[in-house]
């Protein structure tokens, strides 16, 4: 270990100041030594993994989360479980065609059916000036299943019967499913305005849809499985790419197709809504409680103060429910129209249409390698299927992720984001990250074999270290990550996985082939600038008001343990209020981009520090002396070195007497207006403290994972099993080991799903999705992952955030997919697959033919 203060950088000093301020417990354990070591790694000594929770009372320890008992006993109520007096049900009317325009409708028979209360059409929605924007209902459906109307009735059976009485005359419009088909000369456009999303700079920055067709020459090598690379509207580069290729010992140029994959949340986007006294009450599943209120208000064009959102439990999000989904306002509008509560249950088939999906990529990458496997140059080209609405940023994200994870000294990235008449996409765990990793990793595996370099060694030589630059320069400066210990994660992961021993084992026995694969993985993992809000109650308890959504990650309670740690309060004396926007919630980050743990431990730290300050002030006012004469520990504020003090209960009571900034009648000026209002709503309840995360940060926060997999393939059937898996995380300070393990393995499993079978299947002639049910689109089951999947983490704090914790949700996903793909090529050779997922059909036909046989560039087969 480096001498902590041998060469403190400015950043390290800043980090140290912050961490030191975290109190005796925290400062003793995270006194900046790791931070300094990370910033200025000693030449001979590597940072070593640390035991979870070392030096802490709460951070890094397992505990029972406040929502656990209700979840395991079935008492937790999700949106669909709520009932209200006089509640109606509604069903959506899906478009039967992939693109059309409603010419006329006849609702008379449907409305005449007894029990039918109302039919909602797109004309009933608040106006949307942008014709390309997704709406809850539409007169121009952009994909099969796009909802065009909704029927409210006394029950679902009546609503369904009414739907079958609706006469709709839809004019079929041109459509396209496969992005490459729309780019062909004369290829169809998914919309009258064009097929490709193009960003424009000043003077009118924005994004618009435009027609783009490539030439027949561009498509010359399509049938050979080489991705056409015509004009790409998005492009960046840095370094001398051509020189990098010239100096390379080995240059590989490969095309690859990644799957469109539905989020498949087990809770579909069901919503229940009712109105009382002009206020809208909504029960929904969402990733973000606080942030969903303004989204609903925006979609309904109403005052957010009139929206009450209840979402205590959410059955999965993965990026598809960041602020819920537009379609949930259908329940609200029908409730208004019918003047009755309306429940909109979304079926599995509807969820398949509306539940969002990851954009599939058709990609190509040319990479130059030095003899030791170091990348000399990288040229990346991706076509992103962006679905029927909106431009997804996956293509951009894929370039940045590849640039950060593999640190090419010279790189060009080009991207084409194509609209198709397929369901709406959204971010899905590691958006673009998974696709980028899935495209590059099999090429690295191939390069390692051709160069005779160990797979782990090849990744280590390319992995980022410390503050690492990535992506293109912005105003002359390339952005950089806050820290990276990915090389250490690789080293310790390889040791735990016994990589060397496994890699040296024989690969064939009987009809079975085995192989091992390793992959780098990582994704953005933190934002800054949000607020914390807590109340020290007259009973002496500490209550955290939490605007985070309960999407299953346990961040609703994990982050507050950082505050409890700083305040030295036992967790048993803490309460968390979550899942109800009427319960005075502070300004909170959306729970996407794996930012919550980072952002909200900072906010929690800030509010705990502010609380300590207020407690000291209250004590000084009550007992005399100066605030700095007091310290906080053991649920008391007391004179340093002995003497009088107040219990938290007494301090809270005194705070109420003091009023003003102490009991919520006023709040710190720097906090968001929403937090001001929330504090005001709590006024008089105790010592009410609001604070904003004003801590600095040098760099963009990323978390990293080294992923390892072993597969066993039956070469006579093509069937294979993932027989072992390890995700080793570099995710900063570990907050809650059990939740971290759940994320590392759960999200790895999502990645594995992309490798082993989950996908969309479309009939391109009819523009119809044919694999709509679980048994057809095949999300993995518990029996499709190894019995004893392993995880671990370095537990090295990020130097740019006070608690050191980074997010973890998305970083493992790409590695889950790529480690399995790499294990397959280790077992079977390079000429097996050119797309994911890889199934028995892929393997069997390719083994016989000696080359990838599966329509290499075609989407959604």
């Amino acid at each position: 270990m480096a001498e902590p203060d041998a060469k403190p950088t400015k950043e390290a000093e800043a980090a140290q100041r912050r961490l030191g301020a975290a109190g005796p417990q925290a400062s003793a354990s995270t006194s900046g030594t790791r931070a300094a070591g990370a910033l200025e790694p000693a030449p001979t000594e590597e940072p070593q993994p640390r035991p979870f929770g070392e030096g802490y009372k709460l951070i890094g320890k397992d505990y029972t989360t406040p929502d656990l008992l209700a979840k395991v006993t079935g008492k937790s109520k999700y949106a669909e479980d709520f009932r209200a007096e006089g509640m109606l049900f509604c069903k959506l009317v899906p478009s039967p065609m992939p693109h059309g325009r409603i010419r006329s409708v006849n609702l008379s028979q449907a409305l005449a059916l007894p029990g039918v209360r109302a039919i909602l059409t797109a004309d009933d929605l608040p106006p949307q000036p942008n014709p390309l924007a997704e709406r809850a209902l539409t007169n121009e459906p952009m994909f099969q299943g796009d909802p065009i109307m909704a029927v409210a009735a006394v029950d679902e059976a009546t609503a369904a019967e009414a739907i079958e009485l609706i006469e709709v005359d839809l004019e079929p419009r041109p459509f396209v499913i496969d992005p490459l088909e729309s780019l062909r000369p004369g290829g169809p456009n998914p919309h009258a305005q064009g097929n490709v999303w193009v960003r424009s700079g000043p003077p009118h920055p924005g994004i618009h849809l435009t027609p783009l067709k490539w030439t027949a020459e561009d498509f010359a090598d399509y049938d050979q499985g080489r991705l056409p690379m015509g004009h790409a509207p998005d492009e960046w580069s840095y370094g001398d790419v051509e020189a990098g290729f010239k100096s390379a010992k080995l240059v590989l140029d490969e095309s690859f197709v990644t799957p469109d994959v539905s989020h498949q949340c087990l809770e579909p986007r069901t919503a229940m809504a009712y109105w009382q006294n002009g206020k809208l009450f909504m029960h929904v599943g969402t990733q973000s409680t606080y942030q969903t209120v303004p989204a609903i208000a925006r979609w309904l064009q109403m005052d957010p103060d009139k929206v009450v959102l209840i979402s205590e439990y959410t059955g999965g999000g993965f990026g598809s429910k960041v602020t819920g989904t537009q379609v949930m306002i259908v329940a609200a509008l029908l409730a208004k129209k019918c003047q009755a509560p309306v429940m909109m249950r979304i079926s599995r088939e509807e969820e398949q249409y509306l539940g969002r999906a990851r954009p599939g990529f058709q990609g190509r990458m040319k990479i130059g390698f030095a003899a030791d496997g170091r990348i000399t140059a990288l040229d990346m080209f991706v076509v992103c299927n962006s679905g029927g609405y909106g431009s997804q940023f996956d293509s951009i994200s894929s370039g940045n992720t590849v640039s950060l994870l593999y640190q090419p000294p010279a790189m060009r990235w080009r991207g084409v984001t194509v609209m198709t008449n397929t369901p709406t996409r959204s971010a899905q765990s590691s958006p673009g990250g998974l696709q980028g990793i899935t495209i590059i990793e099999p090429i690295l595996a191939r390069a390692a074999r051709q160069l005779g370099v160990d797979q782990v060694a090849l990744r280590r030589v390319n992995a980022p270290e410390g503050k690492s630059d990535f992506g293109p320069a912005n105003h002359g400066v390339r952005p950089h990550s806050t820290s990276s210990f990915l090389k250490q994660a690789l080293d310790h992961g390889a040791e735990q996985f016994q990589w060397a021993q496994r890699a040296a084992r024989p690969k064939r026995s009987g009809t079975k082939a085995r192989g091992v694969g390793v992959s780098l993985s990582g994704f953005g993992a933190g934002s800054i600038g949000y607020d914390g809000l807590l109340v020290v109650t007259p009973a002496g308890r500490v209550r955290f008001h939490c605007g985070i959504g309960n999407l299953g990650t346990e961040s609703i309670s994990d982050v507050h343990r950082a505050a409890a740690e700083v305040l030295d309060v036992p967790w048993e004396s803490c309460d968390v209020v979550w899942g109800d926007s009427s319960r005075h919630l502070p300004y909170t980050c959306p729970s996407d981009g794996s930012q919550t743990t980072h952002a909200m431990t900072r906010a929690a730290h800030a509010v705990a520090m502010a609380c300590r300050q207020r407690l000291q002030e209250v004590a000084a006012k009550a007992l005399g002396g100066r605030p700095e004469d007091y310290e906080v520990a053991n649920q008391r504020v007391f004179r340093k070195g002995g003497g009088g003090g107040l219990s938290f209960a007494q301090a809270a009571q005194h705070a109420i007497r003091l009023g003003g900034i102490y009991d919520g009648h006023a709040a710190a000026a720097e906090v968001h207006p929403a937090t001001q209002a929330a504090a005001g709503g709590l006024a008089g309840q105790g010592l009410v403290v609001a604070a904003r995360d004003l801590y600095g940060r040098d760099g963009s926060t990323y978390s990293f994972v080294a992923s390892f997999a072993e597969v066993e393939v039956d070469v006579e059937t093509g069937k294979y099993d993932v027989i072992d898996f390890l995700a080793y995380g570099d995710v900063g300070t570990v907050m809650h080991p059990r939740a971290l393990g759940g994320q590392l393995l759960g999200r790895s499993t999502l990645g594995i799903a992309h490798a082993i079978g989950q996908k969309w299947v479309f009939d391109p002639q009819y523009g119809a999705m044919v694999a709509k049910r679980f048994y057809q689109n095949k999300p993995p089951t518990i029996l499709d992952v190894p019995v004893a999947m392993q995880w671990n983490a370095l537990n090295l704090p990020d130097p740019e955030t006070p608690v050191g914790a980074r997010g973890v949700g998305e970083p493992p996903v790409g590695g889950g997919c790529a480690a399995v793909l790499n294990a397959l090529s280790d077992a079977l050779g390079d000429e097996i697959y050119q797309r994911a997922p890889v199934n028995a059909d892929t393997i069997l036909t390719s083994l016989i033919a000696g080359r990838p046989m599966q329509h290499p560039l075609m989407a959604n087969i």
Binding site: A157, S347, R348, V761, K772
Partner: protein, 337 residues
Amino acid sequence: MAVVRDVMPAFDLLQPTTAAEAQRLLQQHGAEAWAMAGGMDSFDWLKDRIKRPRVVVDLSGIAELKGIRASGGGVEIGALTTLTGIANHPAIQKDYGLLAQAASLVASPQIRNQGTIGGNVSQDVRCWYYRDGWPCYRAGGNLCYADTPVGRNREHAILGANRCVAVHPSDTAPALIALEAQFVLQTPQGERVVEAEDYFVGPGQDITRINLLQPGDLLTAIRLPGTWAGARFYFEKVRDRNVWDFPLMNVASAMTLAGGQIERIRLAVNAVAPQPLRLRAVEAAVRGLPANAATGEMAGQLAVRGAVALQFNAYKIPLMSNLVKRAIGGVPEATWA
């Protein structure tokens, strides 16, 4: 008319408690009735509003159609016996391990607890176009949507296609064919007993049906003769997922050996054709030959004669060849150092 799925429409639910009563109800309501066993196939059709029977005859309350009992030299399995019940039954495990294994690989534990042997052999095809209500040949239309130049047909047929290229999805059917099972049907004309392989109807015979059952008919039992009890069995199911998946293909064989040579053999595959296929030519070709890899190799080649791949299912030809090879010659065990 707009289309809506996943909402079961109203129907009259009739719940007989005896086979005779069930048969009477089925005959009374004829083509308007839908016979439902475990519901695993029925509920999809009903919830998707594609099959719209006026009457559903729920067979699940008929105790006499459940259970396994000795019969002649073999056993008789009530058609309403669950797949779990079969997979776990000591007599089936002891003498007819082939069927126990096939039943244990169907779908998932929950589905096996609910699904019945009668339902498993009588279920409809799972072609995703047909199941989604497309007006294809099998649904009474004049097109096969899976068999077009761009139709998605990865899981479809390589043999026996006749306008329809769907495959039969049952895991237990090939095992029952290999075991020389007999199916007992109650019809308005009286009891009818058919060989397992004759129970299944291909599209060339009648494209709108998948088995012999006509309106008013009831499958009551499946009989396993003693002929193959304790024979040498092989069953393998290849699927994408390790649970809750239909077969990409399966194979079942029963054989007896004399002096290391194949004395008697029955061999069937499923998910290769619209009905389970008994491979009679292969059976004939290997009789008298040693049950080894070379015979298996030859058999595998013979089995796929005449197979025609569609756009996305070429893998099924080598897969069938290899599965037949294994069913005869076995699989060399992997021995990892």
